[in-house]
Symmetry: C2
Subunit: 140 residues, 2 copies
Amino acid sequence: MSTAFKTPADVEDSYYDAIDECDLEKMMSVWDHSPQAACLLPMQPMHHGTEAIRAMWKPMLDPELQVDITVNHLEWIEQGDMAIHLLEERVTLKGTGERQPPIYATNVYRRDQEGWHLLLHVNSPAPPPPGLAPGGPGVS
Amino acid sequence: MSTAFKTPADVEDSYYDAIDECDLEKMMSVWDHSPQAACLLPMQPMHHGTEAIRAMWKPMLDPELQVDITVNHLEWIEQGDMAIHLLEERVTLKGTGERQPPIYATNVYRRDQEGWHLLLHVNSPAPPPPGLAPGGPGVS
């Protein structure tokens, strides 16, 4: 199923709604259909293309594993047919109430003839709490 | 110092050269000058804007902490005045020869009137080796 989203914010709302509702078809409706689409979740390899992205999400949208995600908006960049949203996600496992450490997300949206879709979703860990951060080069 | 880069690949080359050469001015020449510029290195908070990015890189480009980075190209997306490069970085600490686990990088470039600059650099850990990956929801 493909959905014509009018704005990148509409795509993003549907992405997080799909997780909240454990709805695989809604999840897949948000993705750009090119092989360039890529999704990187914590502790996972990067998955490229909608087939691989669907195969990765399918077991994770099991209602028994349901999670609650709240997001904190950091930055919104829009230029031509691309939009990038940097945000912080706070994930709680609904079954146990366990809160996971916050993580960053980089969401990249692209507009094609149909409308806007999600091209990249990339998670990164947020740093450890103050006092635990290393002073070393941790560089890249 | 600002440099007019003709292609996003030129920006990327200078970014990794700056790390290799421990050259803070070269590092700063690659960045987009808007407050939207953001850099996320492992174990660090996200830094926004060139002043914060300079303050973060300054101690890390100390020649005593010199690192060697080799990159593996995963995906290149270009659309209008934006370009995105997904890659894998392998970092070795030159002093000790210690190899750190590979990490992903998402590099976003933007073209303005001067030329191309680096708008976002976001690192994410690569997954643990097969067999250590969790089967759980690790979701976002």
